[in-house]
Amino acid sequence: MSNSNFTRRGLLKTSAVAGAGVALPTIFTASSAAAYTNEPTGGTVTLGFNVPQTGPYADEGADELRAYQLAVEHLNGEGDGGMLNTFSSKALQGNGILGKKVEYVTGDTQTKSDAARASAKSMIEKDGAVMITGGSSSGVAIAVQGLCQEAGVIFMAGLTHSNDTTGKDKKANGFRHFFNAYMSGAALAPVLAARYGSDRKAYHLTADYTWGWTQEASIKAATEALGWETVNAVKTPLSATDFSSYITPVLQTDADVLVLNHYGGNMVNSLTNAVQFGLREKQVNGRNFEIVVPLFSRLMARGAGENIKGILGSTNWHWSLTDAGSAAFVKSFGTKYGFPPSQAAHTVYCQTLLYADACERAGTHNPCGVGEALEGFEFDGLGNGKTIYRADDHQCFKDVLVVKGKDNPTSEFDLLEVVEITPAEQVTYDPNHPMFAGGNLGQCNAG
């Protein structure tokens, strides 16, 4: 009689355990051969561009991708060089990064955290990406930043405006060039008080996710400090498309300002609905009712059409700026694609150059070396004036633009006009500011 324990079920169990062990992602285990995750060994270095190619922010993602491709061209010495010519650091020579030709892979975040993490993971594991960059949503950026920290690669955030990205969710491997909700509030509030008065009553509609929450908290704090009263703040689902039932209650209050903490399609629809219900013609206590959109983009302005005219907001960058860096970028991008770049395109182009420059200055692609080179780095010539990558939270501090929907646009791109450039000092905050509290950069992870 056989006394063997070898059974079909036992074999399957053993195979499954062994299979799982073999399949365990190598990025989460210490690598023995390489000094750090995806250390480039050949003549090329691969960057991972993780942008929304489908979903509600696909247009912004497409513009980001154009800018990334332009940045790669310039890094490899092709084209007119763009902002490489105006960048204050001269470490980049147009011969790739550390002499290695830059190649790239792309992923589709679908503006969903799980899809974004999956595509970033694939680019790191399968394609050998040494840096991940992109995103058009704070939820996505925070999720991918966490993954990059675990994987031991640098994450250069794209369009993400939530305070949390460099606040409670900041990571040592993550860096953000784009401004944030606090900065929008700090830049916008004084302009609002000067134009509309300091005794206004504001009603907020807020997208119900991380960016909306921090945007509402920031603009509320900044306006209340200048004397405004907040009548109500209502959260709206991110999936909402018709905001009329959120707009009509505003008519029942004594509010004289509506603040739309919405972005992308949400903002286009809520603003359209607000205009349809006559809020722009409304008078409260003898004063005009006003609408404010704290975060503007040209692509959103295009979607909102003529409803955007005269409305104040803030933006990270605008193509109409006349400094040498902006002019070089607009010329380069406009010549290649036939239209001016968006703020999303600008920030990701800058991030790619900043990463490459940090590698050159550090003499390595090692994320810890690159991180050290970026921390406290002061630069100019990239379209935002003097800028510093603060070491405490990996947030860039630079001037913020307060913009207004243009009343008489001369072209389909001429939708916003800059009404004030708020100096960086006015939007700078303490790293321990309560709105950014609760997080810890931790240690850099090289894999």
Binding site: G55, D59, P237, T241, S244, V268, N269, F277, E306
Partner: protein, 343 residues
């Protein structure tokens, strides 16, 4: 009181859209027995008919203006719509301004054709398949349609204006003795409600007072017997599919100025429209219309701040809660008939 009036008005336009989509869904289900998950996509295509019309009328020729420069510093290319050069600036501008109402004419043959092509090209092969197969194939078709629209029109919402004559809003408050600016309702939403009433009325009249409609109603009641009388009921049902598609398309065309069309708008309406059909009673055309308006208004009430303060998130689930309540008390829905979808 003023808040209740305002929310009732506010629910009318959404209710109109639900009613028109649900009416088409019920027509298709009642005639062909098909659960058409692509119906929301037909609504979306209707809205893009309006976008296309606006773009067609806005096709322009370019002239160089050396006195102005573009963003690259080159002489500015000034665009002049062809319609303005053909019919004069004022007439041309009026044509562009009225592009959404004009799109109604343009959309009817397109939607009839789309509906006909969908039915003949794909859906007819699934008549005898289980409802799960029909749902899968029509849902897949809806995704294909929306991806095609996204490819050609982009992912962002496209502003599509109502004619200038219908911009602005009507102050019901002053008419009813309330304070000014308290009960305001946009003109175009009133137009939308009136339009939906006309379309729904026309469909009912068509089914009630024409021989074609009588045959279709007979076919809905007993397809086999009508077939035995030598009437080609399949052909009529195919035409009804086209009509249902046209109703959804018209709902979309006129909805375009209310919310800027985007490729995903059909999906936003689809699930709720199915709930409307079930609440109204499967196969019941008046039930679909009644439930459409009722749920649209209820949804609007549920988004009042004081209600949301008591039950947070109620605005997101009210329609489903009411659907559960109605189906528990009236399993066939509000006006459902015995024997429909029960075999």
């Amino acid at each position: 009181m003023d808040a209740i009036l305002l929310q009732t008005l506010n629910g009318l336009d959404k209710g109109s859209a639900y009613a028109m989509i649900a009416l088409g869904l019920t027509l298709i289900f009642g005639t062909l027995g098909v659960v058409n998950f692509a119906h929301g996509a037909l609504f979306m295509i209707g809205a893009f008919c309006a976008v296309t019309m606006q773009r067609l009328f806005s096709i322009s020729f370019e002239t160089l203006d050396p006195t102005q420069t573009d963003f690259l510093g080159n002489p500015l290319k000034v665009k002049t719509p062809y319609v303005e050069s053909w019919f004069g600036p004022e007439m041309g501008a009026s044509i562009i301004d009225w592009s959404v109402p004009l799109a109604i004419v343009f959309s009817i043959p397109i939607m009839l054709f789309v509906g006909y092509a969908m039915e003949r090209g794909l859906i007819k092969h699934f008549y005898k398949r289980p409802h799960a197969d029909q749902i899968l194939v029509t849902f897949g078709l809806a995704i294909v349609m929306q991806e095609l629209i996204k490819h050609y029109y982009g992912a962002n919402p496209i502003p599509t204006s109502a004619p200038d004559a219908f911009k602005g809003s009507f102050d019901f408050g002053t008419m009813l003795g309330f304070d000014p600016n308290v009960i305001i309702y946009p003109y175009w939403r009133l137009v939308y409600f009136a339009f939906s009433a006309i379309v729904i009325g026309a469909v009912f009249a068509f089914l009630r007072f024409t021989t074609f409609g009588m045959v279709v109603r007979a076919g809905m009641a007993d397809r086999e017997t009508v077939g035995l009388l030598g009437i080609n009921i399949d052909k009529r049902f195919t035409i009804m599919f086209g009509i249902a598609a046209a109703v959804a398309g018209l709902a979309g065309v006129m909805y375009a100025p209310i919310n800027s069309p985007n490729y995903h708008m059909g999906m936003d309406f689809l699930v709720l429209s199915f709930v409307v059909v079930v609440v109204g009673g499967m196969g019941s055309l008046p039930g679909a219309v009644l439930a459409g308006f009722m749920l649209g208004i209820l949804e609007s009430f549920a988004s009042m701040n004081w209600i949301k303060d008591i039950i947070p998130g109620i605005d997101q689930i009210i329609i489903y809660l009411v659907a559960i309540l109605i189906l528990l008390t009236r399993p066939r829905g509000l006006m459902g008939r015995k024997g429909v979808m029960e075999d």
